[in-house]
């Protein structure tokens, strides 16, 4: 039986999805309204053969993998640090979590104007202070800069999840390993890391979902440029439908993005989903 809740959820998903699929088969351009002729697969053909598509695909993967690497490794180290008893622990933990509360647009603007700006930014100031040429991050390393900004936002999330996992670590196990002669590194690799594997899986799965659709940071910093150097699939769909007013092409891109996300999800579940089994 379909309960009302399921029906509501289905409608919520099915209606936009079918409309997107429908639009993706139309010649639907906002600059020439009224001519909504059937276009067949041509929208898909244009989108997939667009040289920007492969650049965007690579950028999307680099962005996801880069941010995941930084947040998982950094988050684990940060969680280990935060697990140590220190004075003012509560305040420190809230401060560490703070970046997660900052809106993506705001944090990207802060990074762009206050840190990475080659004239007024803090990094430029630091470079000049030691006699170096300021580096224009967003012009010369746009994707790496965006990875840095996004990782900064997501690091607290990873650290917090991993910290809670660390705190559920059995203390007697740690003591047993101490008596067994395991040093700090052996203890980390043989006990802590296996214990964290499930939490790390959760972090990777959740973050991947959100990282595939990074948009605001790109919009306010680089606008996908220079060229296509920092355009990901999400941004490409936006550009297609709202900068070129090509609703049909944008819809086709959206459907392709949905398919790609599903492929990634299947691979992820295959690779690391077994960690979630009890």
């Amino acid at each position: 039986m379909l309960s009302p809740a399921v029906l509501l959820l289905l409608a919520w998903m099915i209606v936009p999805l079918t409309m997107t699929i429908y639009f993706s088969f139309l010649r639907y351009n906002l600059l020439s309204p009224g001519i909504n002729a059937w276009a067949g697969w041509s929208n898909y053909q244009y989108f997939l053969t667009d040289p920007a598509f492969f650049a965007a695909l690579t950028n999307t993967l680099l962005l996801v993998v880069g941010v995941l690497l930084i947040t998982v490794i950094g988050g684990t180290l940060l969680a280990l640090l935060l697990d140590q008893p220190i004075w003012g622990q509560g305040v420190v933990r809230i401060l560490v979590l703070a970046p997660f509360f900052v809106m993506p647009t705001v944090s990207a603007l802060v990074w762009k104007n206050m840190f990475m700006n080659p004239v007024n930014g803090l990094f430029a100031y630091a470079a000049k202070a030691v006699g170096l040429q300021p580096f224009d991050f967003l012009a010369h390393a746009p994707l790496a800069s965006i990875i840095l900004i996004v990782a900064w936002q997501w690091l607290p999330f990873a650290a917090l999840i991993l910290l809670t996992a660390l705190q559920s670590m059995d203390q007697e196990q740690m003591e047993a390993s101490e008596i067994d002669g395991a040093g700090p590194f052996s203890r980390f690799f043989y006990l802590v890391l296996p214990h964290l594997s499930r939490a790390i899986t959760v972090v990777i799965l959740i973050q991947t979902i959100f990282l595939l659709s990074i948009f605001a940071e790109i919009l306010v910093t680089t606008n996908g440029g220079p060229g296509y150097a920092s355009t990901n699939i999400t941004y490409l769909v936006y550009a297609q439908s709202l900068l070129q007013f090509d609703v049909g092409g944008g819809s086709a891109g959206g459907i392709i993005a949905v398919i790609l996300a599903n492929i990634v999800a299947i691979f992820l579940m295959r690779m690391i989903g077994k960690n979630l089994e009890a």
């Binding site: 196990q173 003591e175 047993a176 214990h195």
Partner: protein, 333 residues
């Protein structure tokens, strides 16, 4: 090799002193049981010996060498924890081999020792399972196996049987005693269960609020308790402790009679009372007799005793089996 000596050892957590200055000597090969009510500091004492807690002052000697500052892994001790503390994501084999791996033993030698330990503990069929797939008793054996392979100078057990059911506990008790016979290694065993203490120990250390109340063999503690605390703690059911005129008549502040040292008489006796609750164990019956002016006395009678709730009985303590204690609770001779 396995003598341990504590010299004026104290331990404080913040401003609370849980172990006041304490001296204790444990000979090589002894099976020593620390027993006491919860919170008496027995586990803390064990953790001090293991090196998991730092002593506040005093000295711990292992094999005649000062080991106060030695890290836990270098003390030559192995410990079995209450929760077993097995590594959940490693197979039984890897669990047992872990200390050897940390000691950087060659893989062949490691396998050899693991196989040996497994055959001693009947774990050979389970070597490739995870701890989560084992029963409580098997987990316990894995924990012991992990301790054995290190060939330590002494084993430390921290309430190892308290998570097992009653039947299994009796079995494991025997297995640990047998292990002690075969290995002849010093063992220190912490428990709150005086039955475990009585059945396993060569030497029992009764602890009360961090102090050693008495040290001695099980029968010494049973026959000659040094004070009221030991008298009340050792023996099951508890010794009857009586104060008041009856005690004063014997020049003591408190007198103690064990339930098994009271006889029920048909005619008059020292005490007369009414039977309250009686517990039938088959072999024995424990009667709780309410005596006016004295309180409730526990009496052990034979299994077939035909007394019922409310019956009136007379009780006579056995001659020469009455323990006398002075006002400070110390035994009087």
């Amino acid at each position: 090799m396995g003598s341990i000596k504590l010299n004026k050892v104290t331990k404080s957590f913040g401003s609370t002193q849980v172990i006041p200055p304490l001296d204790l000597e444990i000979q090589d090969g002894e099976f020593v049981v620390f027993v006491g009510p919860s919170g008496c500091g027995k586990s803390t004492l064990l953790r001090l010996i293991a090196g998991l807690e730092d002593v506040t002052s005093g000295m711990i000697e292992i094999n005649g060498v000062d080991a106060t500052q030695t890290p836990p892994s270098k003390r030559g001790l192995a410990m079995v924890f209450q929760s077993y503390a097995l590594y959940p994501h490693m197979s039984v084999r890897k669990n047992i081999a872990f200390p050897l791996k940390m000691a950087k033993l060659a893989p062949e030698e490691r396998d050899q020792k693991v196989e040996n330990a497994a055959s001693v503990l009947n774990l050979t069929d389970y070597l490739d399972r995870r701890p989560g797939q084992l029963s409580g008793g098997q987990r316990q054996r894995v924990a012991i196996g992990r301790a054995i392979v290190r060939e330590p100078d002494a084993f430390l057990f921290d309430e190892p049987l308290s998570n097992l059911d009653a039947a299994l506990r009796v079995n494991m008790r025997l297995e640990i005693s047998e292990l002690h016979q075969t290995l002849a290694t010093t063992m220190i065993y912490v428990t709150h269960d005086q039955v475990e203490a009585m059945t396993m120990a060569d030497k029992i250390v009764v602890l009360n609020a961090g102090h050693i109340a008495q040290v001695g063999s099980p029968l010494e503690l049973y026959h000659k308790p040094a004070n009221v605390f030991v008298a009340g703690f050792i023996g099951s059911p508890k010794m009857n402790l009586v104060t008041g005129p009856d005690a004063q008549a014997m020049d003591a502040h408190t007198i103690g009679v064990r339930p098994e040292h009271i006889t029920i008489s048909e005619g008059g006796g020292t005490w007369t009372g009414k039977v309250g609750v009686s517990e039938h164990l088959g072999s024995d019956t424990f009667l709780r007799v309410n005596v006016d002016g004295v309180g409730t006395l526990t009496v052990r009678a034979s299994g077939e005793v035909a007394l019922r709730h409310g019956d009136s009985v007379s009780l006579i303590p056995e001659e020469g089996k009455v323990h006398r204690f002075d006002a400070d609770g110390l035994a009087m001779q």
